[in-house]
Symmetry: D2
Subunit: 372 residues, 4 copies
């Protein structure tokens, strides 16, 4: 039942399969007057695109977004924005194996169990190709949030056994992230990660990792008690991305080993504003933004598609084996970064608009003034 939307005030609805005619996204609720063109979407979509570097899949998908509505004379009109990305490459391939066999780690079996049949071509609706719609929506949220001084930057902090050292999430820049092909701002770690990914590919295997996303400039007060806490809505968005197996914010799972006296971030006054001296709370208290940078992390599993032979079963209920042909990402992390950012961007845009509707006057003025 109707699960292809996220957000309430800034609502994103998507459709499209991996090898269908195209992907479509409708963004409903974007305020009027924001400058917008396809040029604004392309950078983030390029960062998500296959074939962008040697560490990602070598498939070619020249994804050109077309804004069909909601923009007039270069500005959003306040009405719903539709974006269509045609699938240029719909050649009839050999899908015999994937059609009849359930790939381990994929949704082939669960889709069949749920719907009785499935569009098996390239994973159909369960393919990560659908995330390009999210990235297009996120790029619009990014433009809107910049008007309030909010920036969102994601990056890789771990691949396999290699951990990056990120002393201050809030100071990582998009340039640093984009300076290498694994999107890790720790250059030393980045080089080792690249080596590791190459080794995985040679070994017909894949490798998992962790990405971190940081939002700066977020005013205090975003997030709705009690179910639509900001932490809950960001988690919803992040966990709805394919291959994500875990979510945490601030100190995350580490708090399990801590005492309250170690974990609590103490407040102090700085320049007339209430400021937390530390950020183990990841910018959210009671599920509402505190004004500190919002820091969240996601764990991403190793690509399930392997050229190696794996045991599985087929639709006829027989045990068999499968080798997934085709060009797959040996590591999903580099391309996850822009997708993960977009989950945070959409949640922030949604909560900004939600709270703007209900907010007391002085709060609204304060928020409005931040981007100026």
């Amino acid at each position: 039942m109707a699960g292809n939307s996220i957000g309430q005030a800034f609502r994103v609805t998507t459709a499209g399969e991996s090898h269908g005619r195209g992907n479509v996204v409708i963004i409903d609720g974007c305020p009027p007057g924001i400058e917008l063109s396809e040029e604004d979407l392309i950078p983030d979509m390029e960062r998500r695109r296959p074939g962008q570097s040697k560490v990602v899949t070598q498939r070619k998908e020249p994804d050109m977004p077309r804004i069909m509505s909601g923009v007039f004379e270069g500005r959003t009109t306040g009405t719903s924005i539709a974006i269509v990305v045609e699938n240029t490459d719909q050649r009839s391939r050999d899908y015999t194996e994937i059609m009849e066999k359930y790939r381990p780690g994929h949704a082939d079996y669960t889709y069949d169990a749920k719907y009785g049949f499935r569009d098996y071509r390239g994973g159909g609706r369960s393919s990560a190709r659908e995330t390009l719609s999210r990235v297009a929506a996120g790029a619009i949220a990014r433009k809107m949030l910049r008007g309030y001084g909010i920036e969102v930057v994601g990056y890789v902090t771990r691949i396999g056994h290699i951990h990056a050292d990120i002393p201050d999430p809030a100071s990582v820049t998009m340039d640093q992230v984009e300076s290498n092909i694994v999107r890790c701002p720790d250059q030393g770690a980045a080089e080792k990660m690249i080596e590791l990914i190459h080794a995985m590919r040679k070994d017909q295997d894949s490798i998992g990792g962790v990405a971190e996303i940081c939002a700066t400039g977020v005013p205090p007060g975003l997030g709705e008690p009690v179910f639509d806490k900001l932490k809950a809505d960001i988690a919803h968005g992040i966990m709805s991305i394919p291959a994500v197996t875990g979510f945490e914010y601030g100190a995350g799972f580490e708090v399990a080993g801590w005492r309250g006296s170690e974990n609590n971030d103490l407040f102090e006054m700085i320049d007339g504003e209430v400021v937390a001296k530390s950020n183990r709370h990841g910018g959210m208290l009671g599920g509402i933004s505190s004004g500190s940078p919002i820091v969240v992390r996601a764990s991403i599993k190793p690509t399930s598609s392997l050229s190696k032979e794996q045991e599985t079963v087929n639709k006829a209920g027989e045990n068999t084996t499968i080798r997934t042909k085709g060009r797959h990402d040996p590591c999903l992390l580099p391309r996850f970064v822009p997708v993960g950012e977009c989950a945070v961007l959409v949640a922030l845009a949604d909560h900004l608009l939600r709270w703007r509707g209900q907010a007391p006057e002085q709060y609204r003025k304060y928020v409005e003034s931040r981007g100026k």
Copy 2:
């Protein structure tokens, strides 16, 4: 803007503050004909109640739920069910400190930033007292799910540095969980956890931990592509609970260090059903239940309220210190268990009803037959 509801087909809406007149929850969408009375709610509410043992807060809250509507002659009618729990203890206490000072780790500051003022008594709407509404709703979901053969059991797997050994989540029983006051089915670990909590209390400190929740009997096919994946909706529910800082399912964050060939769960046929040989995928593939047990975990921070003195600021913008008086849980984990279970129960009830509406006939028959 309207953030006090969760679920779509099985929708839970709550209201109530810690020291207001009472807590109210409306459950909308529960099917007709389910046997229900207050007796069904009390066991789970007792498990959440303060004062139930020596390792939780010693506050007394004899929470008696009253079902106001939606039940007739002992059965649900299919219309909305309202449950009211009066706050019996509304004595005027000394709230001077909490009124003027922002407690570290709490939502005092963020509520003030958001709303301009707040009900400061006992934390108001940000207090975990609100979770009793969730537990009442979850108890109804539990009754409904039992008709389909679905059971949900939660337990503590870690407190501080003490880790429990849980060889098979699916075989943990409610009796095992309830056999000790920390709700850890590993009795040896449980004893050490109890000791640790006592040490924390003596030290005017608190300690964090991890809880795991396992749902068995879930049919394959629950969860909606693409944003309302089952993993995303469970994450939303879990992350909306106070003090939760992280969520993972199956292998969770561990996958970051793994190869695809290590992580993929291989399928085989057993008794004519497609079965995964292992459960690193935590019972969900592509965000849809696979038929394997659903296993999720949450990290819970140490209680922020400390009798120890902590630095902070006050509403007037001055640096100051605070000692939070009152009887607080030195460790939130034992009381988190029933609340976490309810997040899973509500998500499963919601998705079962959502999919029941859209499902092809043969699937529906299969699911209906499971509880019989």
Copy 3:
């Protein structure tokens, strides 16, 4: 599936049956800082109450609302507001007839068809008693809208063959409406209506009518293209009220006989504002408020419960007859007025908050200034 809510930004969720323990309503999304107490709810609830005059049912229901949450020190906190009204009169009556027979014009049969059984006492959830929750919610919306200079007044324009003459809906005052017991501001017509209702009661019969509701002070710009047009959302609210069989705004069904040149309201400039010279458009163009008074009408059927004998069938599938005992309204119109007002109030509050979130700055300022 979850149909007991209305509104998105100002969301109202209700529960409760006619003869259950009580009625409960949760209002989610009300802005913080609005002065509110039970005293604000009682006037509208008194206007809806049975037994208030000789032309309505003589049942006694001393409905005392209790605000359980969301209000602190006399002001709304911005969190969800729960209101409980206990049913004081739950005596076990003789429900044999209504239990076994389907009353013509009532929902007895359709509830049984839908749910398999029903709470038959007094109509259960299908009883108009449920509208007291709507009135409580509407009273809160009224308080909020007054801060923007918006007023909503309803009145009866027709009962049976007696039509009132209302030259200018926007100038009808609440005092005029409340000056007689049928709530018709045309005093001459009101007297005839009262006579007619008395005649109906004597005849063991009932009579239908039409009510009109007018909202003044509504700024231009409320209403969301394309499905949530203001006219559509008001219609949704009005048509969801028991016994309502039709809805129209402005010239309504009369336009069917008109030419475009007769129907179009022409614009002119007055004091620097765009103003429509006439109001056949009922204050909405393209489903968005135009700044002219919003004028809507509803037709209400004659009470279905009759002391007269009527043919019907019973649950056992036998033809039979029924006389509905008890004290029923011989005409629903006088008590419909406050309920209809509340549908308009809730829709306006919802759309004001929705648009406030997305609105361009200058619009927002304009709207904010109106109530001052």
Copy 4:
């Protein structure tokens, strides 16, 4: 805020302006396994198309829908269905007048008031061109509902002073409706209506009317208490269509003059089923379908665009006059019929899926069997 969706279980989201690149609709929640291709959409879209006959606008819009997703090998997959209709005719016309002046009866002024500016080309988002998305969605709902034996047929019952005589709504066939260009099954009235429309066109004027829509085969039990009553949700859909000024079902506004004893439809047993002897209740009791045919009506205003000169104002705040050039419908009724049908179709599809999720087993079986 996000007003471009309707329905919950069968959810329709639209985007697109009159003279933008195209119109886009996403249908979310359609069950899997329904045979569907563009061929299924074209008949209803042709009925809505401009230029189809002499009584409608002579604009040419060869609207070819492209199903982008959600259909595989000729059957719906259960995932979201996107349909794109490109706007073939985007020539740069002379929009000077409409750009600067507010057309009476149109949304030009209210859009400007709401958003600060607007896409003025052909009315932008407020244009009735948007209804082609609704018709595409409705055509899918129609296919789905046919599987349950449900049929929906609309027709014109009044244009200006000419009333059709429709003795039995449930027996009107699509063939009868399509046998003349005004879509009125009373052939004598149809001829007079056609004459009247021609007279209006000659006179540079337009004319209003009433259309009726009847759904047969609807099982008892659809509609959700208390806000999402079937009558309320159908009203929402119908009232969200451009130019609709009123809605009624069954006896509608006529009940205002009736007594309860005249209005109540009495029940009797026929072939073991509970049947209402008459249908003044329009197939809905308590907002839930009764099994009788659902009969609703809408009043549609005369086209606001007139070639005649009309007084108005411009954006600069000056009084002026306007003649709306271009080829407009002299009467909207013939093209309204398929659009109105679709509002009913979508509401029924939505409620069928909603109730299917929550329904008791025996009800579900009964409903499933109806289409067989």
